[in-house]
């Protein structure tokens, strides 16, 4: 495996922002309720995650207490900020000290510019569920435009921000996009998926990573506007819950067929496909055979 496939992700933010909760939900199958039991992260917690077979994510969950933070920016700065591919900075929406939050963000950017200027920056505005529904959008726009300004000063002009909450599907959306930005052969997946869609006369095909159920890519972007724009995240959420509950029967999830129209099945050892057909008259065997044949192209 080439070292190119190892990606270093920094997960930063001030203490209590919800960094470890996110990590536990996305990568360790915690339910949102379980995250209450998590304690404070001491210093940096490393986790190595295999993603889509050949991609290894080194996730550095950096504890956010001021003592540790100070340490990252002074003594450990070359250790922490070297060879970073992605910085994920988490902001607590409810935080009282927004100034200090942004200050920390600026300091992180400063170090990044020096040690790994090519890094991608993602900002998560977390705990959005605590904000009133009608104020969420406004608050998000306000905060992001402010952060955009800040990061431009430090030479990272394309910052991407997401509103997130562990209690709904927004968390999956954010992480899907973060992880997808790291996958090298995305174009190949995309074109293969398009072919498969035509062969099967499907309405939509979505590829998921198997362990985390994050969306890797989907077949249609423009057609089918009538569909729920949040469907990917909803499916991630639903399927992950079901995977969890199949664990109660001491087993793992394999396939699901709904109304002879929606097929969820394994496509490769680390991918699941979610296929929605246009019509439901085709015999099941035929569809399953097609899926089997398609496996070769997604290894």
């Amino acid at each position: 495996m080439s070292s190119n496939n190892r990606k270093k992700l920094l997960l930063m933010g001030r203490s209590g922002a919800g960094k470890s909760s996110m990590r536990s939900i996305i990568f360790s199958n915690y339910s949102a309720f379980d995250t209450r039991r998590l304690g404070a992260t001491i210093d940096v917690e490393h986790s190595h995650l295999r993603f889509l077979g050949n991609l290894t994510l080194n996730l550095w969950d950096c504890g956010g207490q001021d003592v540790f933070m100070e340490n990252y920016f002074t003594q450990q700065k070359d250790h922490i900020f070297q060879m970073v591919q992605v910085l994920i900075h988490v902001f607590d929406v409810e935080s009282q000290e927004v100034r200090r939050d942004i200050d920390i963000f600026m300091r992180a950017l400063k170090q990044l510019k020096r040690y790994s200027p090519g890094a991608k920056i993602f900002v998560l505005l977390h705990k959005m569920d605590l904000v009133q529904l009608d104020k969420r959008h406004e608050l998000f726009e306000l905060m992001i435009s402010k952060l955009q300004e800040t990061s431009e000063i430090y030479g990272f002009p394309d910052l991407v921000g997401f509103p997130t909450s562990i209690w709904d599907e927004s968390l999956y959306k954010a992480w899907s996009q973060i992880v997808c930005s790291l996958i090298p052969n995305m174009d190949l997946y995309q074109s293969n998926l398009k072919n498969l869609k035509e062969v099967m006369d499907a309405r939509e095909i979505i590829l998921f990573e198997k362990a985390t159920f994050l969306v890797v890519c989907s077949s249609n972007t423009s057609t089918g506007k009538s569909l729920d724009p949040k469907r990917f995240e909803i499916i991630s959420n639903v399927m992950k819950n079901f995977k969890q509950s199949s664990m109660k029967l001491k087993s793992s999830f394999r396939t699901l067929v709904l109304n002879d129209k929606i097929y969820v099945s394994e496509l490769s050892p680390d991918m699941m496909c979610f296929i929605v057909l246009n019509k439901s008259e085709d015999p099941q065997d035929l569809i399953l055979e097609n899926i089997k044949k398609a496996r070769v192209y997604f290894q």
């Binding site: 199949s246 087993s251 999830f253 699901l256």
Partner: protein, 341 residues
Amino acid sequence: MNELDSKATILLMGLRRGGKSSICKVVFHNMQPLDTLYLESTTNPTSEHFSTLIDLGVMELPGQLNYFEPSYESEALFKNVGALVYVIDAQDEYLNALTNLAMIIEYAYKVNTKINFEVLIHKVDSLSEDFKLDTQRDIMQRTGDELFDLGLEGVQVSFHLTSIFDHSIYEAFSRIVQKLISELPFLENMLDNLVQHSKMEKCFLFDINSKIYVATDSSPVDIRTYEVCAEFVDVTIDLQNLYKDQNEDRQMKSVSILGNGVVIYLRQMIRSLALVALIRPTNSSTSPANYDTSIESCLTVMDYNIDIFKKGLEMVWAHAKVPGTEMDHRPQEHYKPATTF
């Protein structure tokens, strides 16, 4: 005839802040348990109707009212009720609640001897396993004593340990609702037949809106199996809703195969009921090649058998609606079985 009278009604009572509205919202409105923290205190009796296999009415009474004031029509209230569910907060001091309960039972029993009395020992999620049982024993003991003092030792009271944060509340409500369904023995019999002939391990007849099971076969209920089946109903509905066309009105059917060969099977039946079954194909030849075929043949048999079961269900239902055999609140007593079964 008056529609309302034929409804099996569940009366939800208890002291204030016992968790009655939360139970209602979680079980019948799919509210997230944590959201119930923000519910306001209920001031008026609220009633709701659900049409599962039977038409079920759930009436919730505010805890702070005194039902023994002469102005209140409590007599009429208790007359039309099938089950009285009393909610006791297990995290709180419950002696007051027990006195209140005994008073209510005494009064209600005088008005209507056919009421099922159910006590929910609620909010047990924060109690340790030992303490749960101790609390239950204590409450049962004290209730028994109170009723004995009132000279009501013949009254049957059932107890359930519940919490809205797990599936125990659904389990308890399932048992309560089942007591109100007069066709239950036939349903169970039919399900038993189905299980025997289709290699099923367990099957439930779910109400898809509330995830209460109105009937199951006679093998013991494992709470884990129930949870998985209930979640499968959720998965099916959620996925179906995402890709549903407006004009489409199909019966749901979904099948999921798990890694160890267990099959979860869902078919929609009549009146927003769904049959969910857990099948473990007995593969005499354990080689993986025969594995898939054994599942396939198993499913074919299932489909056929379930079609028959569905017809049976329709017939039971048709007969249940014939005037004259109209539902009484209590099973077995006045109901004459349809001769076809």
